[in-house]
């Protein structure tokens, strides 16, 4: 049997196990809610601020108070992301939405790392019931690097300033000795 022929039953088993595991933590999602974003792709530069909007709509009956939470994930394993650096206002308490109502939230973020990132908004009820959150579409963010610091430049200062002061100190000492 080739590896590919092994893979199919294994995949089926994994799918069954996953379904059972999900069922074990049974969580009903807040029915009738949707989260959308005004764009799905953003290109920016390191250090720049960018903005996108998400709209939470209640397509069902009036519901609990809701919370919208912003998350950022790096697609590269070598880039560490601290979401608090990107946005200082990641959690929004929305209150309750009337049936058929919607609420648009503006998210302002600062690109503090370069690389490829996915940003998404999760909406969950404030009641604390074990419900699955509703997540909006992913916004793919590409952050181009920007060289802002010239290490060679600092070397000239790091060597130059003490050198100038050293020359002044030696000159002063020689002058005093002659005097």
């Amino acid at each position: 049997m080739t590896p590919r022929r092994h893979a199919l039953p294994l995949l089926a088993l994994a799918a069954i196990a996953l379904a059972l595991a999900t069922g074990a933590h049974a969580a009903s999602s807040p029915a009738g809610f949707s989260a959308t974003v005004d764009r799905t792709r953003i290109s920016t530069e390191l250090g720049r601020t960018f903005v996108f909007r998400s709209t939470i709509a209640n397509e069902g009956a009036a519901a609990d108070d809701l919370i919208a939470h912003l998350n950022i994930v790096s697609l590269r394993s070598d880039v560490y992301v601290d979401p608090e650096d990107w946005s200082t206002h990641r959690t929004r308490y929305l209150g309750s939405l009337a049936a058929g109502g919607s609420r648009t939230i503006t998210w302002r973020l600062k690109a503090v790392n370069s690389g490829a990132f996915d940003v998404y908004v999760a909406v969950l009820p404030r009641s604390g019931h074990a419900r699955r959150p509703v997540t909006g579409p992913v916004v793919a963010v590409a952050v181009a690097g920007r060289k802002t610091l010239n290490a060679g430049g600092i070397l000239s200062v790091a060597l130059g300033v003490p050198a100038v002061l050293g020359v002044l100190a030696v000159g002063l000492k020689l002058r005093r000795r002659r005097a």
Binding site: N113, I154, A158, G160, V161, P162, L165, A169
Partner: protein, 268 residues
Amino acid sequence: MSRAETVDAEHPRIWAVVLQREVRDLWTGGRALVMCLAFSLLLSVIAYLVATNTDLNFLEQRESVSLTLQVATAVGALLALLVAGDAISGERERGTLETLLLTPAPRGQIATGKLLAALTLWLASFAVTVPYVWRLGSGVGIVMEALAVGLVVGTLLAIFLASLGILISVFSNSNRFSLSLSLFVLLALFAPSQLPSSAEQGWAGNLLMRFNPVTAGEHFVGRIVVNGHSWSEDISWLVSPVIAAVVFAALVPLAAGRFISLRGGVSG
């Protein structure tokens, strides 16, 4: 009219004469220049380390400017404190205080002249800091703001610490005791800045940070340089550095006028 008041009226700018002589001794004697050289070496090491950090990114670059500025203000104020701590007790120990006290110069004005001379070391330290901040901060466009906040906070802290050094020196019988106590107080004032950020969240931690002029000043620098806040947004953090600078600077001529004597009040 007392003798001191008569002298004050006749020679209203004796402090300027003392300042001139102290500055000449400090700078042409070479002591201040050597201190500035040591200060620049320290800044060079710190600036080079933060600049060559391969993980440096946009946010951390602001932090590197803030770190360099905070070290510069702290060490610059320390240099002023060291010179001030030697001002009276040093004269006393070298046996030159008697000659100084025999002159008609009012003691308050002598201390004021010495305080201003000690502050020239802070101004020189700040001048040395400028090229480092300029190099580190030019990429993110915060040079002028960083230099302005560094000058304001550093000057307030230098006035406070140099005045404190003069006061300690007035009451110390030995120079060793004066300098040891000055350094101990400085370390005690800087110690809360090493507390974990979670400790600053509670009311007690926040009060301690705001009450201590050194931690409040350093916090203000961080808010402006790292977080990009406006000055008015965090101006409350400048209250304790301003009060400390004004109160301690006012105490110097008052305490010196009453308490400078050939023997200090406290011996080491």
